[in-house]
């Protein structure tokens, strides 16, 4: 392995340990209401885990070659992916990207609408990593690393729509596990450093914080 790759791998390994041994143990599943069972199971897979163990549990995280559909919605699919559960997927018709991007742009001041749009399109979250979704990925990455980052750095975490932010981080983490582009992985690194370690989102889908950590751990493990 080249020196550069060794150093990157070493840095990611340090972060992985910190995530699984320092950040994750402070999360209390009972605070997540109906999602407590999922949170407990997801955290159990992460606590003191090694990168190899996390990699083994990533069997359901494979890059799709074409647009897939499933009977589950985005949230059930994300939970299943986090827990390494197999999902039944079917080939589907790839919906046009352009109207979606236009709607996203039109809702740039309406995070609740944006959240809904993203959750609907990526009901099968793996589709986010398809080559044809490149423009949508770049848009999501840009929103995370420009507007939302600036808002967080200017104010507090309470100033943002937690569900909208966390859903985007979940999707980016899926792509970071499957693609070599380091920018996506580093946006997760950045948010890990930016979000308060003790943050507990009081939003409807607050458990997305835990799925973000679980998928981030996979993205890290994939490169260690």
């Amino acid at each position: 392995m080249k020196m550069r790759e060794e150093l990157i791998s070493g840095a990611l390994s340090t972060r992985f340990d910190e995530l699984c041994r320092v950040r994750v143990p402070h999360i209390a599943p009972e605070r997540f209401g109906e999602a407590a069972q999922f949170v407990s199971e997801a955290l159990g897979n992460l606590l003191d885990a090694s990168p190899e163990e996390v990699k083994k549990s990533s069997v359901s995280l494979n890059a799709p070659l074409e647009w897939m559909t499933s009977d589950a919605d985005c949230f059930s699919s994300l939970r299943a992916l986090c827990l390494g559960q197999q999902q039944e997927l079917h080939k589907g018709q790839h919906p046009r990207l352009e109207p979606f991007l236009k709607s996203l742009d039109a809702s740039r001041r309406d995070p609740a609408r944006r959240f809904q749009l993203i959750a609907e399109r990526y009901a099968c979250p793996l589709n986010f990593s398809l080559p044809d979704e490149d423009e949508a990925r770049e848009y999501v990455l840009m929103r995370l690393m420009v507007q939302e980052r600036a808002r967080l750095e200017r104010g507090s975490v309470e100033a943002i729509n937690a569900d909208d932010l966390l859903l985007k981080l979940n999707l980016v983490a899926i792509h970071a596990s499957l693609a070599p582009d380091l920018r996506f992985l580093d946006s997760l690194n950045y948010y890990y450093e930016l979000l308060p370690a003790a943050w507990h989102p009081q939003s409807a889908q607050g458990w997305l914080l835990v799925s973000y950590y679980a998928l981030y751990a996979r993205a890290l493990a994939a490169r260690i």
Binding site: L7, E138, L141, R149, D186, S187, Y190
Partner: protein
């Protein structure tokens, strides 16, 4: 070639002015425009304070005496400022502000506004591109190009070259080294633009946009740089 150096303060223009005045046929102006939030009296007061307290006072006073300094009280895209820019009939602007220019401002310069970007275009657009090049194992370099309203997507490249940085030991030091090349790069770009047979290279904006890097990866970049410096010493 009527050339305007766009700055927020006079001392920031001094090095560029000294280099650019060596290019035959270039007539220089220093365009001092307010930083965002520094318009009106507040901006003027800051300018006076800089003139009194900052280093380069003698050079600044010399520029003022030469009647080559134009102070704008309003933002660059304000109609009053645009009207004054139009009257100056400038060919080229040299970017040394913290502003992303609107199209109306860019169009006030016949050829456009030059930006010395510390990354190689089209591959490295956006922020933190120097450290991103290092972590991706690619060459570090600079590109002088005419800006448009996008992020490093301006289509005309005047100068693009790789820069060796073995003497630089940190991200901060490397960035400062590259930023300090701006006066020299502007002079070379103006020389190229002055030559009759020069044609700009194309920037097809095909590269990825990069963003500010995490502390984790910045640490890895610092370590890569430290080890390279040690290897070079051996």
């Amino acid at each position: 070639m009527r050339t305007g150096i766009l700055v927020h303060s006079l001392p920031a223009a001094l090095d560029i002015y000294e280099e650019a005045k060596r290019v035959p046929g270039v007539e220089l102006f220093v365009l001092v425009c307010p930083a965002p939030g520094d318009v009106g009296f507040r901006g003027l007061a800051k300018q006076i304070a800089r003139l009194i307290f900052k280093s380069g006072r003698a050079g600044s006073l010399k520029l003022l005496a030469g009647r080559k300094v134009i102070l704008f009280q309003k933002p660059l895209d304000h109609p009053d400022t645009l009207a004054r820019l139009e009257k100056l009939k400038l060919d080229v602007g040299l970017h040394k502000t913290g502003i992303i220019y609107r199209e109306s401002t860019v169009k006030a310069f016949r050829s456009g506004i030059l930006n010395p970007h510390i990354g190689l275009l089209p591959e490295y657009r956006g922020r933190g591109v120097m450290e991103w090049a290092i972590i991706e194992g690619k060459p570090v370099g600079v590109t002088v190009f005419f800006v448009d309203a996008g992020i490093d997507t301006g289509g005309r490249v005047v100068l693009r070259e790789e820069i060796q940085i073995p003497h630089c030991k940190s991200i901060q030091e490397t960035k400062q080294y590259l930023f300090n090349l701006d006066a020299l790069l502007f002079r070379r770009a103006l020389e190229l633009l002055s030559s009759e047979d020069f044609r700009c290279a194309a920037n097809d904006a095909s590269g990825r946009r990069y963003y500010v890097m995490s502390n984790l990866f910045q640490g890895a970049v610092e370590e890569i740089m430290r080890r390279r410096t040690m290897d070079d010493r051996r």
